[in-house]
Symmetry: C2
Subunit: 126 residues, 2 copies
DNA sequence: GGACAATATTCGTACAACCGGTTATACGGT
DNA sequence: ACCGTATAACCGGTTGTACGAATATTGTCC
């Protein structure tokens, strides 16, 4: 019974990070995104992106789908009742958040940019 | 605009601690509690209790009311829309949580115990 | 199988958070 | 004014977390 509160705290700790919040927010608005999209949209290093995605994955908040060399991540509803409720509240409220527009705009800009094809060579065939 | 996501993360960080979660849970079930009640119910040192209460106070999640030497703490709904929503979800879900019974039981046991009067001498006149 | 691209992991380090124990402050009773 | 109690603030040590840089892994193409 001691374990349970600890689990809640651990879960909240996963959420309590700027980068991971931004990632969740972007993922909740797109069906899926690959690592390079996230690192470009958020302007972070590859190592940083991968590390935080691993944290989210271990917490059961996202799942990865391998397709060739790419790894696509998508959000997944946690099985735990409380975790799901908290995540839903968070994402719902993030929509009204002043930052949300900017965040999505940055992502959109990157996805439409010419650099995207230049950086990810093999992507052109898709 | 960069500031805002940071604020959300900071808020979640305040929530992401076992002791503070237990305190919030207890406070959400009692109108108010003094520090010595919390430290006894949770079985923690005075220093620890005071420190975490200060954190909650600075985050605007609780307010203190001085009455003589005692400080009574009570929960307060945050002004920020998202913070309030998250806190509400958390407390609502904590009710169904397996730990909740034990937690309240510990508090009740302490409040009714003979030790309470013995420890807090001046309390008898109230 | 070699070269290269996308992603993951490891390593060493800086920094923040938590802790117990101690000291300081504030208040009430005598 | 003095003493004891309740609480807050400080201090040194330990642990946890995030970071960049470098390295490893995995898959693709030739």
């Amino acid at each position: 019974m001691e374990v349970a509160v600890r689990a809640v705290a651990r879960f909240l700790k996963v959420l309590a990070d700027e980068t991971r919040l931004r990632m969740l927010w972007l993922l909740s608005n797109r069906r899926e995104l690959c690592v390079c999209d996230l690192m470009q949209a958020l302007g972070i290093t590859q190592s940083k992106a991968s590390r935080h995605l691993a944290t989210l994955r271990h917490a059961g908040l996202v799942v990865d789908r391998r397709e060739g060399t790419w790894t696509h991540y998508s959000i997944v509803s946690p099985q735990d009742e409380m975790e799901r409720a908290l995540l839903d509240t968070l994402c719902a409220k993030l929509v009204d958040h002043p930052d949300s527009g900017q965040l999505l705009q940055d992502l959109q800009r990157w996805i439409e940019s010419a650099n995207r094809d230049a950086t990810c060579m093999t992507r052109q065939g898709r």
